[in-house]
């Protein structure tokens, strides 16, 4: 079993790497790479993402052939892929951070700034919030409803088809914080920073 964490200069991915290595121990090979062949040949892919929607999309596009390879991996070959934070947001058709930017278009919808209700809510939404699980998702196996996860974001993914939503969280409004569409998984929160319960989600993805 080989899990590839895509290293495309999307900001700080050390915590993602550390958490996957901690969970994988010696059983699973965790490869941190931007090499297209290595991504193609892996069993699962993790797509992290920090910073703005635009900076992440730009960084993906900078590596020639990477979006095509990811597309083939997730959409054509239907192999499991987990997007974290902006990694999840990029599943959308379009994002509005900085400027209008085209996403991967894997899950139809948009990424826009959270409504802070005229300053009533601070942004970024930083800290531990409870997730409300709305659909059985394979990555939530043995995860209790209302578990706490660590969030840090100012933008939210609004998918067109609400059936893809696997969990939401309450902040300034009801925020989509996890999606599952066939083989594609995404979390807005950071499982790599969400203590033991977060590591469990990572484990659930690894053993899929």
């Amino acid at each position: 079993m080989k899990v590839a964490i895509v290293d495309y200069n999307s900001g700080n991915i050390s915590s993602v790497i550390n958490s996957f290595r901690e969970v994988a121990k010696d059983k699973v090979n965790i490869e941190v790479t931007s090499d297209l062949k290595k991504i193609e040949s892996s069993d699962k892919v993790v797509l992290p993402g920090q910073g703005s929607f635009k900076s992440c999309v730009d960084a993906l596009n900078k590596i020639s052939g990477l979006t095509e390879t990811l597309n083939e991996f997730a959409i054509i070959n239907k192999k499991p892929l987990l997007g974290i934070c902006v990694g999840l947001q990029m599943f959308a058709d379009i994002g509005y951070e900085e400027t209008e930017t085209k996403g991967l278009g894997w899950i139809s919808g948009k990424v826009s700034k959270m409504n802070n209700q005229n300053g009533k809510y601070k942004l970024p939404h930083i800290g531990w919030n409870q997730i409300s699980i709305v659909k059985d998702s394979k990555i939530f196996k043995d995860i209790e409803n209302n578990s706490h996860m660590y969030f840090v974001h100012s933008y939210e993914f609004i998918p067109k088809d609400k059936n893809v939503i696997s969990a939401t969280t309450d902040y300034s409004s009801n925020i989509v914080c996890s999606v599952e569409k066939e083989n594609i998984f995404g979390t807005q929160f950071h499982p790599e920073k969400s203590d033991k319960i977060g590591l469990k989600i990572i484990n659930n993805f690894i053993i899929l």
Binding site: N12, S14, Q50, S55, P124, N129, K193, S194
Partner: protein, 251 residues
């Protein structure tokens, strides 16, 4: 519902944890990696390291400490102290820090906040504000509290938000190490002025001070050192106490 965070802060000097009274008279309280692990297992919502190593030749030790800690600690880790450049930030993030806290360099030139938040994202840029009440205003101090700047802390807080800071870590220099409680006025004034989260710091001596920091100071998170280090209270006790006072915490 978003929970208020409790953040134990470890002052680290040459790779060892120390904590001072009013920034002097340091005592040794152990190994930072072990301490961070104990705190994260005990329910700390984040861990903060403040590197107070003065000399440049020992600066690299902190990178090693961060590297080791981030392999054992799966809650967010913030590292501050002596950050002067984008390169310093990059190195800390690469070692596994999730956020960096910038103090003197941000006061000297806000460009570092602007540039680093654009490069790495606001989510990892915390600006640390050390302020002292001088009668007319809360004045910013730099270099670990040694140099006064004549800058108004509240105006500066707003400027840092506009420059791209994701959070503000506000320390009252008057209260730090005194254990008489946060400077509530300072915290609430800054918190009302900005739309980013404020972490209150400086002066915690008991659990009621944590409650006050959140309820009266309007802080999103409370940072403390000595009350946790010397076993006076555990993180768990602190959380249960906050919970009993109606403050939402992760338990």
């Amino acid at each position: 519902m978003l929970k208020n965070r409790i953040i134990p802060c470890l002052d680290v000097k040459k790779g060892r944890v120390v904590k001072g009274i009013n920034f002097v008279d340091l005592k040794d309280a152990g190994d930072p990696v072990e301490q961070a692990k104990i705190y994260s297992e005990g329910g700390a919502d984040e861990i903060c390291f403040l590197d107070i190593t003065a000399s440049n030749e020992n600066r690299d030790i902190i990178y090693d400490v961060v590297k080791k800690t981030s392999k054992k600690c799966f809650v967010p880790l913030t590292v501050g102290g002596g950050i002067k450049s984008i390169e310093d930030i990059r190195k800390l993030l690469n070692c596994g820090a999730d956020k960096v806290s910038i103090n003197t360099a941000a006061v000297q030139d806000s460009k570092i906040v602007k540039d680093s938040s654009q490069k790495f994202g606001s989510q990892c840029i915390v600006v640390a504000i050390d302020a002292k009440n001088n009668g007319d205003m809360w004045e910013i101090y730099t270099h670990g509290g040694r140099n006064r700047t004549g800058i108004d802390a509240i105006k500066f807080a707003k400027k840092m938000e506009e420059s791209g800071a994701g959070e503000l870590l506000v320390t009252s220099m008057d209260r730090d190490g005194t254990q008489v409680g946060y400077d509530i006025d300072l915290m609430s004034k800054i918190s009302s002025k900005v739309n980013i989260p404020v972490i209150a710091s400086g002066g915690v001596g008991n659990l009621d001070h944590l409650v006050d920091g959140i309820k009266l100071g309007k802080a999103s998170a409370v940072l403390a050192a000595s009350i946790f280090h010397y076993g006076k209270h555990s993180i768990k006790q602190a959380k249960e106490y906050l919970d009993s006072k109606g403050i939402p915490v992760r338990i």
